[in-house]
């Protein structure tokens, strides 16, 4: 057995590094995939061997997903999960089963590509500069027309007004739509001065195809058991907590949160309360979330669910529902309006939701065209709260250090599935 074969033999018994492009309706499923031993979901495509396209994307996503594909170091393979045929890019196989089935498929393909049974995928895009390179020398300095602007499609550092009496260059960059620190599908054009965002613009995007109507969408028009609604709310919030913990670097607690989200049952609040205590011990508030992402007072937050309730306002559609009033429901609120307040708010709402689910029995909620979803008030025929949250990003992110920018976006819990911003460039 040669050296390469020996390395391949050892490597294929290890974790499979997977980069996930999350499409419509599959955010929760990806959380369950994280818990499968032997599957390692990575933050950069450079570290991955398998590209997993989970859920439905629009045809507009072909270009950006192809870029992600070609950034993988290889040997690489692509799997589509729950994605309608044909996929946005060519794939090795399509899986329509559950987490176990997709994990088995991923492992099999990883084994096969390392052992040579399956040929690794070739790049989808030509390996040429996007625009002809006309700079002089290896770094392009000194070429005609290379001062200022974006000559030949490449942004150069620009002079910008002094910040804190420091004359720093300003660098325009686009980050997203598959950057793991942002909600899937969100792309931002940012002018960076050092690591501070001096200008932010939401890039035109319409990449994620909405999945099948979820429970809260159906609850707009049909009576729905409160137990089901509250269990879905609790799972949503706990999975969101897992995302926040992962970005904050406490992966151990993120895994624990994902486990809890997968196994909780109505009335079972202890695991969540113990998780919150562990989060407090991790100093998450002091180290990462305190005083970050405070929203300006002039922004109307009505109807934005936990975001508005984390500012101390008891704005919750459920208090107007007789069935909830019969259960003694009162909205939970927190003060401060920063990222920690939003974390505490969602943690408390998860506990409250589990408690309500345990006591609700067969009681049903009659939405009558309105329902309080985990991300805020949904109204029949009106845009979801995510659209409003995206529209305030450009205001709230200016002046943020990069880490705070990511924390703020994460704390708002934006689902791009129902958001369409402008028309993407061809």
């Amino acid at each position: 057995m040669g050296l390469r074969a020996r390395l391949a033999h050892l490597a294929k018994t290890g974790d499979v590094p997977v980069f996930v492009v999350v499409g419509g309706g599959y955010r929760s499923a990806v959380h369950r995939l994280r818990l499968v031993e032997g599957i390692s979901i990575v933050a950069s495509p450079r570290h991955a061997s398998v590209l997993l396209i989970a859920g439905a994307l629009t045809n507009d996503a072909t270009g950006t997903v192809s870029h992600v594909h070609d950034q993988m170091a290889g040997p690489r393979v692509t799997v589509a999960w729950g994605h309608p045929e044909p996929s946005v890019i060519p794939v090795q196989t399509t899986v329509n089963g559950d987490v176990t089935e997709v994990a088995t498929t991923i492992r099999r393909l990883f084994h096969d590509v390392l052992s040579g049974a399956v040929a690794p995928e070739q790049p989808l895009l030509p390996d040429v500069d996007a625009v002809e390179w006309r700079g002089v020398g290896p770094y392009g300095h000194g070429g005609a027309g290379m001062t200022g602007g974006t000559p030949y499609g490449r942004p150069l550092a620009l002079r910008a007004p002094a910040r804190d009496n420091l004359e720093l260059d300003q660098l325009p960059v686009t980050v997203g739509p598959w950057f793991t620190g942002f909600p899937p599908g969100l792309a931002l054009r940012i002018s960076l001065q050092g690591d501070v965002a001096q200008a932010v613009e939401v890039a035109p995007t319409n990449l994620i195809q909405a999945g099948p109507a979820g429970l809260f969408t159906r609850a707009l028009s049909e009576p729905t058991p409160i137990r089901d609604l509250e269990m879905a709310r609790a799972r949503h919030h706990i999975e969101w907590m897992a995302d926040t913990l992962e970005i904050a670097g406490v992966d151990r607690l993120a895994v624990r949160a994902d486990r809890i989200a997968g196994m909780i049952s109505p009335g079972e609040v202890d695991p969540v309360e113990r998780l919150v205590k562990a989060v407090r011990r991790s100093l998450l508030r002091l180290m990462t979330l305190r005083n970050v992402g405070v929203l300006p007072g002039e922004i109307d937050l009505a109807g934005l669910g936990p975001v508005v309730r984390a500012t101390g306002v008891a704005d919750d559609r459920r208090r107007e529902e007789q069935a909830y009033r019969d259960l003694g429901f009162e909205p939970v609120t927190h003060s401060g309006g920063d990222a920690w307040a939003r974390f505490s708010q969602r943690a408390a709402e998860a506990v409250q939701a589990l408690d309500l689910a345990g006591r609700a029995g067969d009681t049903r909620a009659f939405g009558n065209g309105e329902v309080e979803a985990p991300d805020g008030l949904h109204r029949m025929g009106e845009p979801d709260p995510a659209n409003r949250l995206v529209s305030i990003l450009e205001t709230v992110l200016i002046g943020s250090e990069w880490g705070d920018l990511v924390t703020t976006i994460q704390s708002l819990d934006i689902d791009m599935e129902t958001v369409s911003v402008g028309t993407p460039a061809p």
């Binding site: 290890g14 670097g249 406490v250 180290m287």
Partner: protein, 301 residues
Amino acid sequence: MTAFGILVQVTALLSGGAYVLVVADRLMSGTGSVRTALAYPVRRLSFLLLQPATTTERPDFEAWILGPALLMALAAVGAVAVPIAGPSAGGDIDAGLVLFGAAMLIVLVAVFIFGWGPNSVLPMIGGYRMAAMVLSVGIPFSLVVLTTAIPAESLSVGMIVEAQSSLWFVIVQPLGLPIYLVTAAAIAFWGPFDLPEGADLAGGVVAEASGLRLATWRFARAALMVTLSLMGQAVFLGGYLGPVLPGWLWTIVKTLVLLVLLALAGRTIARMRVQTFVWFGWVVLLPLALVDVFVSGWLAL
């Protein structure tokens, strides 16, 4: 001990320590069994060796290649300054403490150029963050390390260990070890101070790295953690001094204790914001380090 002997000793120590660190870190991540964790470093290394190194548009190749090599060299240089088995067993240098301190502060350069190299925004921000971090903790780190030379009246690490024959400096200088561990974790950009490689940067300085380049970087960072733990036990926990066991075994045991402690902190405490870190370095750590210097100097008079 010959130069070759020291090289073999340092290589074995850094490699063994790096293996233990990666296994411990994996166990603390909450995923997988002990058996999986024990095999993880070898399997992961095998995969990375198979993976081709990728490139980006117009990278600064020299910087990108030099970064991991420099980091590894700095970890080795720092380790050379620490006597492993005893004062006569070689490896002791007259001004070893200065050599170690200088090597650890140059880590900033290694991380910055590794972030700069790929010509990509997220690694570049990772490099910026490292600069902010080391500028904030470099002085307290140097102060608490050099303060251990006051009672020993020597900059030789071997002499500092010998000066602890009656009482370890962790007791004589109670502020020293806590400040050292915090600043050491920052210099090794290990959690909760892993800002240059944060998840909010999709890996930061390693976001564009793959294959051998990534494997070298990962090993170098783990080796750096071993070096920092090695020096920590030498100047605060009595190094090779201890009853019954041979000196080299005491060195290994004490180094592993600090290594596991740092690994545990990295997995259980949330990542600190850059602004908070800079404030913490200048407003909290620096004054405490100065108190450490003045009290130790007064006691030594």
